[in-house]
Structure formats: structure tokens, C-alpha cells
Symmetry: C2
Subunit: 480 residues, 2 copies
């Protein structure tokens, strides 16, 4: 164990803390080091918000070399390090632990290169997801993964969590769109993984980095694939009288080999919440809504839509509404993308993130309603149906501890249901703190031990984001 027992504030511990802060101050400019308790508050938690811990210090380096110096110093001192992007994790991936040093990449926010010949963009790790698409939009390109938090979340965080989004059905998630990364390893070594070429020989450490939740190293730069914007895009609303039938319809569309750019699902509670907020023109007389977006030329869109509509009709679709203008299309997406915020206005909620094989969508939806009702709670479902990536929002009263506990239990039951249906605990939010204990439901001890052996090849002392991803009992084993 390299961790330091910092918990009792005896004089030795206080002296140790001061020494570490002084050590950090030698490595970075004054403005890059945050130690004032008031200034540390924004770093106490992330969008999961279930836990708060004051870190020992926050470092916001301006260069890869500063990251390297700080990480090597922390490793040498045995101080836990929590890497942080924009803190938008919904699974607690960026929540610090007490006496950890947070290394945030938010000041490293420059776009370094747009390479049109190779359709790549190289950015510093703190560049936001949307900033890339914004920069290349005028040239007709975009960066595909589009998490709902894309205005705020950073590329480094996207890589750490292997983030997805509504349009990842067609374009894949972060791992499918990442070509290279500059990464600082625990001892301060700087490595370049991948690059602009199609492939790299040897082990795919770049792929391993995607979804590694800050436990292998700290990302300081990334090279991503740019895609050409399609000629046109058209979201269409399909209303159904039953959630299960809507789920079966999605399954058949995908099973037929049709890949629209997005298939989003909303059940009645979600429709009502979003429509009240965004006035998106959603029908209110249906039980479930699919937003299916097709793209391409007018002929391509017409052709794909015709095939989708034929399948929807076979499933007794109740209403079909095509967007008639760019404004209407934007409005439809605004409704969907505001789902979390709109839900937050009417109730507290926890948002789960499980993924199921598409053939199981109807079954899992039915059981989700049963589970949540069993705890006397309500649920709204709004999710990336084409990917089988479910996001049940379990509504509860945060001021009622009994309800909060029920919500958490219901969430865990739903994730176990996803695993038992052949799916998994997460689609795009990661494991973080939220699901670390559920990992034993997904994996055998052998599986987890093998994952931890790989993790240990980067971080044998369990310094990097140590309390995340693996059940705490396992983390202890892993620390050596």
C-alpha cells in the first residue's frame, strides 16, 4: 500500500499535507495550484453528486510537461491522484477522495491542428467535445460522439469514459473515433499512442485507454477522426400505444440491418416532461415515442424512411410525424436533449445507464416498470434505443432518506436485470463510484482479477483514481 493514512488530522498529517502542497507549488505556476478551501468546493464532486470529498489540492496544469512533473511527484509520494475533465461524470468518476490531488485538464484547451488531408483534429485534453465540431463545421465536418453534456465535457473525459451519445448508433462511440492520444504515465513518462494512420502494431493500448476511467494515465492530447456532415438529416417521430411494442419495433429495424443515425426512445413520463419544457411538438396521446433520424440525400432519406415506416406499421404505429423544417428538427432534438434538465425541474432523479441486447429491449422495459413500481417509485425512460443503451430516470425525493435508498436499490436491480438479460452495467457513463460494487454481478472474480492485473501494469501502487471501477474489496487486493 502506497496510500497515506491522511484521515486523522494529527500534527504529523498536517505537516505532511503542507509538505505535499509545497512540493506541488514547486512544479507548477501559482495560478495552476488550488488549495484554498473555498476554491476547492467546485472540485468536491461531479454530476453524480451523491458524494462529496474535499481534495488535498487541485492542480490545473497548462502543459503536458507540468502534468508529468505533478504525476511523477504524487506517485513518488504515494498520494492518490484523481484525473478530472469537466466533472460531468454521471457515475462519480471524477469525485475525489480525501487527501487526493486532483489533476484537471481544463486549462489545456487549445485545438492544436486540423488536418484536412487526413480528416483528423488534434486537441489538448481539456477541449470540449462540441468545440471540435464547432471549429470544423464551416468546412462541412463534425466530430461524431455527442454526449448530452457535449457543451461542457472534455475530450479527456470522453476518452476516460468511452462516451457515446444519440448519434453513436451510426458513428460509434469514442473508441471508434479516436486515433491517437498523448498520455502521461505514472512515473511521468510521456507516451504517444496511435496516430493518424489506420492501425498500430503491438498491443492496442489506445483502445485500452478508452473507458479506463483515469486509472492508466493522464491524457493530455488527443487526435480524433473528423467526419463529413451528411447532405441532410430528418428526425421523424413515431408514436406507439405501448413501450414494449416500441421496443420490439426498434429491435426489428436494427435486426433488418437498417442503421439510421439515431433511434431515441421516450416513454410517456419522459414525453410529458420534455414536451412541457421544450414544446417540441411531441404527441401526448401515445405511450411511447421513437425519434428516428435518417440522413443523407433526399433520395436516401426517403428510401430508408420508407423501410422504417413499413416496419413501424407492422407494429401498429399510432402516429408518424416528419419534421418539416430545420427549425422543427432542432426543436425535436431540443426536447430530447433537455430530458435530464427537464426532469430535474420536476423531481430529483437518478439516471441509470445499462445496455441490453436489442432482442431483450421489450422484456427489460417491462421488468423495469415492475421493479420501480415495486419500490413505490416512478420512472421515466429516455434512451438510445438503437444501441440498446437504456437510461431509466428513477424519480424520488432527495429529502426523504427512505426514498433515496429505495431509488438506489431500484437502480441496482435494473442494472442487474440488464446484465441478466445478456447486457451490461453501463453504456456510456462508466462505472465510477456508482457501479463499482455491481461489477461482481457482471464479472467473475477471475475476470476482475485479470482486469486488475492489466491495471497494475500501469499503476501497481493503486495511485490513479483508486476508489473507482473495482469493488473496494478488490481494490485492496490490487494495491501492492
Amino acid at each position: 500500500m502506497n496510500e497515506i493514512a491522511f484521515l486523522t488530522p494529527d500534527p504529523d498529517v498536517l505537516a505532511r499535507r503542507e509538505a505535499i502542497v509545497a512540493g506541488l507549488a514547486d512544479l507548477v505556476p501559482t495560478e495552476a495550484l488550488v488549495t484554498d478551501p473555498r476554491e476547492l468546493v467546485p472540485f468536491e464532486t461531479d454530476a453524480f453528486t451523491a458524494y462529496r470529498r474535499v481534495p488535498l489540492a487541485v492542480v490545473l496544469p497548462g502543459t503536458t510537461e507540468e502534468v508529468a512533473a505533478v504525476l511523477a511527484y504524487c506517485a513518488e509520494q504515494g498520494v492518490p491522484v484523481v484525473p478530472r475533465g469537466a466533472g460531468t461524470s454521471l457515475a462519480g468518476g471524477a469525485i475525489p477522495q480525501e487527501d487526493a490531488v486532483v489533476i484537471g485538464v481544463s486549462r489545456m484547451n487549445r485545438i492544436l491542428e486540423i488536418d484536412h488531408d487526413n480528416r483528423t483534429c488534434t486537441v489538448q485534453a481539456g477541449v470540449t467535445n462540441l468545440a471540435i465540431s464547432d471549429r470544423v463545421a464551416a468546412d462541412g465536418f463534425f466530430y461524431a460522439p455527442d454526449p448530452s453534456s457535449q457543451l461542457a465535457c472534455t475530450i479527456a473525459g470522453n476518452i476516460g469514459m468511452n462516451s457515446g451519445g444519440a448519434h453513436c448508433l451510426k458513428y460509434g462511440v469514442t473508441t471508434n473515433n479516436l486515433l491517437g492520444a498523448k498520455v502521461v504515465l505514472l512515473d511521468g513518462t510521456i507516451v504517444d499512442l496511435g496516430g493518424k494512420a489506420l492501425d498500430a502494431p503491438g498491443l492496442d493500448l489506445l483502445g485500452l485507454l478508452c473507458g479506463s476511467e483515469g486509472q492508466l494515465g493522464i491524457i493530455t492530447e488527443a487526435t480524433v477522426r473528423l467526419l463529413a456532415k451528411p447532405e441532410g438529416a430528418r428526425p421523424v417521430l413515431f408514436g406507439f400505444d405501448s413501450s414494449e411494442v416500441a421496443g420490439a419495433c426498434v429491435s426489428e429495424i436494427i435486426g433488418a440491418g437498417i442503421i439510421p443515425v439515431a433511434i431515441e426512445f421516450m416513454d410517456k413520463p419522459a414525453i410529458e416532461i420534455c414536451e412541457a419544457f421544450a414544446k417540441a411538438g411531441y404527441p401526448l396521446d401515445v405511450e411511447a415515442l421513437l425519434i428516428i433520424e435518417v440522413e443523407g440525400s433526399e433520395a436516401e432519406m426517403d428510401d430508408m424512411l420508407a423501410r422504417i415506416i413499413a416496419i413501424a406499421r407492422r407494429h401498429g404505429v399510432a402516429s408518424i410525424k416528419e419534421s418539416q423544417s430545420a427549425t422543427e428538427a432542432a426543436q425535436i432534438w431540443k426536447g430530447r436533449k433537455s430530458a435530464f434538465g427537464a426532469t430535474g425541474r420536476i423531481a430529483d432523479y437518478i439516471c441509470m445507464d445499462g445496455t441490453v441486447p436489442l432482442g431483450q429491449l421489450s422484456h427489460v422495459l417491462r421488468e423495469t416498470y415492475r421493479i420501480v413500481a415495486g419500490y413505490g417509485l416512478r420512472v421515466a425512460n429516455v434512451f438510445h434505443a438503437g444501441d440498446g443503451n437504456m437510461h431509466p430516470l428513477i424519480l424520488y425525493d432527495v429529502n426523504d432518506p427512505a426514498e433515496a435508498e429505495k431509488a438506489e436499490l431500484a437502480g441496482a436491480d435494473i442494472l442487474k436485470l440488464c446484465v441478466d438479460a445478456g447486457g451490461c452495467l453501463t453504456g456510456e457513463h462508466g462505472v465510477g463510484i456508482e457501479k463499482r460494487d455491481l461489477m461482481l454481478h457482471q464479472f467473475s472474480e477471475t475476470d476482475l482479477n485479470q482486469q486488475m492485473a492489466v491495471r497494475a501494469a500501469f499503476d501497481p501502487g493503486w495511485i490513479l483514481n483508486p476508489s473507482k471501477v473495482f469493488p473496494l474489496s478488490f481494490s485492496r487486493q490490487g494495491a501492492s
Copy 2:
């Protein structure tokens, strides 16, 4: 070091060999164990053919459990294990070393499940690449990665090498089409990686497995993504008066965001060789040929082709010829797919496999001609240009040792050129024996040490395919 010094055939060593064979005989049925020297001959090498080594024994298990028993036994005994698919590796990935046990998956060749709801196919590891597409063709589906050896090569080998093919420009390589795998770890533990759901939490060990060249474990089953066959496909021939201009045209097509399903490149020597063999209707009065295949509905194909033709015209294309029938389309592909065999009829050759950023295609082609001419040899280029994945075929006389050495030196120079142009040593053939020493040109020692630390998390004793991928000096370090 767990390896056994088997090299001198003294009585102790002979007794040890017999003991190991006897031990293997206890674990698998008689027909699954090959030890007769004559029957071992086909396993002495692979399609790289540069080296031959007689293994101690070949085991061809029929079940995952047999693989587990054999692997655990070999690990316990410290006997090197070389996993083998169909032996089609062009980089020597399946060449055994002396006194190694080859574990071949060729008898595990059943298709286990076609799941239409989830568009997946689960197969045993020895199923051939083409067998999957053949099985689902009648339902309108296919498995996308299409190496030229697809009639023979196995899914396990495809995963080990992260294989690609002509149509991977649009559909991605093996890692983009693999959803799950059953893998036997060194101690005989059986783990399931991935599954039918979109994502898996924790470290992406499935991604790590792709391209790991048999050094992490032995794959016994795989679940792959099925895709719907497009409505139509149309290969078009574009002739150019210069290879460099053809390369620049490819770069501009991709740079414009147009992704045809394939862009194949042939230079004059390759055109002549393939046309003489396949009578594909290739023009013989041009210096370079692009086969660009578009697919989709007629309207989609027309639209994409119009944009491609406009770019080709700007590059002074000399001739454009669309295939007019399915037969003609098949003929065009037959020419391309026979390139290696047709070349082998007129000369000995080594086929290199490097990948470059597309913007560097013209530069790398020009330098390739210069390098090979400098050694007084000839080269034919036929490759996946849309991916920047080059395959220079260096022609030489295998009976002239001086020429053979020159060919090898020229090949190494070309791969270094690819790396220096921002590309890499391999696109789809892997590192194997062929390129292990060149890895130091691609990676720093730090990079390689980190890769080996990850490898060691699976195989600390350096038992699995020990002499491949890493420079031999490094392998020694890695063995503990």
C-alpha cells in the same frame, strides 16, 4: 525464465520431450494430438514461409475445455505455446519455435448461433472468415472484414492479427466488428469478454485481444456483428497516368469526407500481372488504377460516384470504366483478389504491410519506387488506398541469397519510411516474426516496456507465442 532449454538432444531432453507428449496424450483424444514428424510438416511454418521450425507437438482440441487443459499443462511445464488458426499469417505470426506446442483451433469449426434480433453470429474459433458470410448470405447479411485469405483464414487468426480487407474502408477492421470472445487464459481459466451488448464496463480486454497475436490467451469462441448487405454495389475503374497523382486523388476523396466501401490501388506492374492472370478488363495503357466501389441504392451510388468522378477529373483521370453487370463486377474483384497469387506465378516476392496517413500517400509511393530501385529490384504496388494501407510486393529471386537479402532490406526501409511519414509498421498483417526488430523504429523503449508490462499481466513467464511481436532483446527482459 520458464522456457526449457530443449536445443541439445541429449538423453535428458529426449526423456523430457517424451514426458510432455505423454502428458498431452492424457489430456486430449488420440486424433487431437499430432507428433509424427511427417504430420508435423504442415505446421512448421505459415504463409510468411521465411522460417521453418518443427514443433514438439501439435494439439488440435475439439472443445474449450481441452484447450484449457492443454494450456494449463504447458504453462505449468514451462513449455512455449504457439496458437494457430489456419496458418495464413504473412508476418510469421504462427511459425512455431523448436520444442513449442502448437495449439490449433481448426477442428473447432462450428457456427454456434445466428441471432437475427441482435444481428450477431457466434462461432467456434476455427470457423473460417468466409463461412460466416456464406451462412447468412441467404438472409441478406454478411460479416464485413474480408482479408484476401478469407476462404481459409479463421476468426481466431483474424482476431489475433486484427485483420482487415478491401471493404474495411467503410466497415472497419476486426476490432470494429467483434462483440465478444471466449478466451482461455494461461492457467486454464476460461473468460468471456464482451457480449451482445454495445459496451462492457471496466477495461476493454476484448479490444486488447484484437491484434495481440496470440500472446494473451487462446480464443475458442467469438461473437461478431452481422451487417445487412447493401441493395447494390458497383466497382468502377479509374486509370491515371501517374501513381502519385492517383495517390493524391485518393487523399482528396477521403479528405472530402466521401467514404466509398473500397478504394483499391494498383500500379502498372500490378495491373499487368493481375490482368494477365484474371482477364479482369483492366486498362493496360495507364500507370495506376483505382478500383473504387460504391454501394447502396442506384440513386445513392449515382450520387456518390458523381462526386468521386468530379474529383478524379480535377486530377486528370485518364480513363473511367464502370462495371456493367454483376459478372463484370466479380471479374474486377477477381483481378484484385488474385494479385498475390498472380504475382507468385511470375516471381518470388515479399509482401510488406505498412500504413500511412493519406496525405502522405504520394510521397510514400514515390520514395518506395526510389528505395526498391536503389537495391536493383522491382516492386508492384496493390493495396487498400482508402485506408492508407500499403502492400508493396518486392519481387526477387528466392534462389539468389544476395537478392533475398536486398529484398528484405528494401522491405525494412519501406516500413521505416511509413513510420517516418507518421504511419506505422502494419495495417492488417501484424508484426509476427517479420517486423519484431522494426518495433524499435516505431516505438520508444518506454512504449515497448509498457506494452510488455500489459502482456506480462497475462503471461509473466513469456509462454504464449514468445518469439513474436517484440524485439528478441526485449522478450528476454519481459520473461521473468
